[in-house]
Structures are given as structure tokens and as C-alpha cells.
Amino acid sequence: MTQETPKQNIHEYLAELDDIPGTRIYTAARARKGYWINQFAMSLMKAENRERFKADERAYLDEWNISEEAKQALLKRDYNTLLDLGGNVYFLSKLFSADGLPFAEAVSTMTDMTWPEYRQMMLDGGRSPIGNRSIKGGY
């Protein structure tokens, strides 16, 4: 038998997850809130649904139990707002694909950089963790 990892209280655990700059960890609270956003996105894995969506995005969205705010964010491809509303990037990536957008380019739209700037940052070694680890700690 080896030593056990000390067990953590769920409230402390979740509080820590909220302490990361520029990041929305996909917790239960977000999964619940964004359930139908994510199920809508998942529906785009089927070619016939992608076509119906492209033909009339608004009409297709209106078939889903999604708030007006989320519908607007989906129409605008405002991915940070969608993360706030409980969207998860692996689900939302079905929308990237429907748009024919490379994954990394879609990801870059969530940052304060253009796609060429973001791509260059990655070639240069990526975003540094320094100062990006903790909101409270500022390290």
C-alpha cells in the first residue's frame, strides 16, 4: 500500500478552479448551464444537420432550448461568451468544423491576438505560465 493523496473538500476544490486567469474550467455548474448549447453543437456532427444549420442558422437554433443570449453568441461565434454560458470547447469545435475553421484559428479568436499573432506566439514557444497561474496569487 502506498500513501494516499489527501482528500480535498469539493468546495475548496471548485474554488481553486475559479482562480485561473483567462480560463473557464468546465465544472458541473458550467456543464449544467451549457447543456443544450453543447447538445446543439454535437448535433452538427451529422452532415444533414450542418446543412440545415447553414441554410438558416437562426431557425435551426430556435429548435433548441437555448437562451437568447446564447443564440446571439452562437450567431456571432463569440466563444468567450459561450464559455461563460457553459459551452465546452470540444463541443463547440463541431461549430468550428461546420465553419471550416482550423481549430487553432478558432481558439485564437478567444484571445486578444489576431490569428497570425497567435500563430507566431505558438511558434515562439507559446504563452508563458508566468503571471498566468493564479488570479489571487498573481504569479
Binding site: I20, T27, A28, A31, Y90, K94, F96, T111
Partner: protein, 280 residues
Amino acid sequence: MAKITAGVGSSHVPLLGVAVDQGKWQDDYFGPIFKGYEWTREWEAREKPDVVILVYNDHASAFDANIIPTFAIGCGEHYKSADEGWGPRPVPDVEGHADLAWHIAQSLILDDFDMTIINEMDVDHGLTVPLSMMFGQPEKWPVKVVPLAVNVVTYPVPSGNRCWALGEAIARAVESFPEDLNVQIWGTGGMSHQLQGPRAGLLNREWDNKFLDMLASDNDDVRHIPHIEYLRETGSEGIEMVMWLIMRGALGKSVKTLNRHYHIPCSNTAIGHIVLEPAD
């Protein structure tokens, strides 16, 4: 008797699948990455494992938001490549090893792991990209696969400690399988990357290499790294590395490192892989 003869940890970046499928793997961007896998590809060709227990995560392909299994083991006969929105990857179907998979599933449940058994599912880049990295573009994959899908998307994901313990239990299960089989276990995903929000693009060469050091060592400190450390240090998707601990836990106390490679970047991600052999 079946035996786990080696473990591989490897990233499973979708863009690497694209590079293989579109024949771009020798260009300036991908060349250094594929060069890093060259030794491992040759080693796999020599080793000829019969079965790979392939630990990966489903990226909203087989499982939608409705059902979230912590540990799902594929007990089917074969699996098709998933359509992740741009058509399925043009790779061979993945052949399962239902006898071994069911044996492992049964043993794990008897060992108090609360497995979900799944018979039919499509497998996405998390599973097929590592196969491409190790075996290139064969007509037919040269191994059978036992897929082990881990939830690393919805929190809490399983603890590092639980993942390691699952690996230990998998090793016990494999050893009690009567047929002679050369079995490998692969842990995939990672290394540092973040695919969401203003912090997207975070990479951490130093931490990733420390993680590789820890995997290669003879102590099990790595199993006690808390989730928050992965998240702070390696980006929100770096948590996928907990899946490497299932592989490492299955290899026993001491390991020998056969190969190790690290490269930045591939798309949004730091690419790394390590090849380990049990040394007890």
C-alpha cells in the same frame, strides 16, 4: 500468460492526424515532430505487440453531454473512426480484443473499480492519432486495441492517485489472462495546452519535462500532483496527462526509459512522448 511489456505516453493532437492523412509529415512544421517519433516507430515494428490498452479521452465524439463515464472500457469487436465534423479520418477500422477487454473489465470491477462497459462506439483522434504516430499508414493496424476512455473534460476528472491505482489493477488483470500476449499500455493526451479563453496557447516546457522526469523515476510522487497544479502550470487541457499515470501505474515500481522526445509547438500544443519498460 499475457504481460504488459512496455508503456508509452504520447500526445494525441488532431493536427498530427491531418499531417499524416495529407502527407505533410516531412514538411518544415511537422518534420521535427515526426523525426522525434522515428525511433519509437522502429521500436514498435520490432516489438510487434499483440494488443495495446489505449488510454485516451473522447472529445465529444462517442459520448454527448448526456452521459459522462469516468472510466469506460471498450469490450467490442471493432470500432470505426469518428466523424469529428470534417468526415472520419481515412484510417483502418480499429480491431478490438474483446476477450482481453472483457477479462480486464471483469477483473477491474472485482477489484472495486466502477467501470462502465461499452460495446459499440466510434473512436476519435484521441485514439487514432497515437496509432498513426506509432504505426504510420498501414492497410490494417498491426495491433488489436482495448480502448479505455477517461473523462478528463467535466470536473472533477479522476484523481492522479486513482488513475495510477487503475493502472496497477490493469496490470494485475492482464497477468491473470491465460493466453500468451505481448501487451502494451499507452497513456495519451497532453502535454501542456489550453484550447479556450484569453489564456489559450499556454505552454510550459519546464513543467512538462519535470513531469517526464517524474514518470521515468522509481518513486510514485507523480500520482499525488493535484488537478489544480496541472491546470495552473500546463493549461486547462494539460489535465489530459492524468491519463499517462494509468500507463505508468501499470508498469510497476521501477522503469527503464527507452526513448523520450519533446517539441513545441504542434498547433496549440506541446508534443511529448516517452517509452518506458518495466524494470522490476
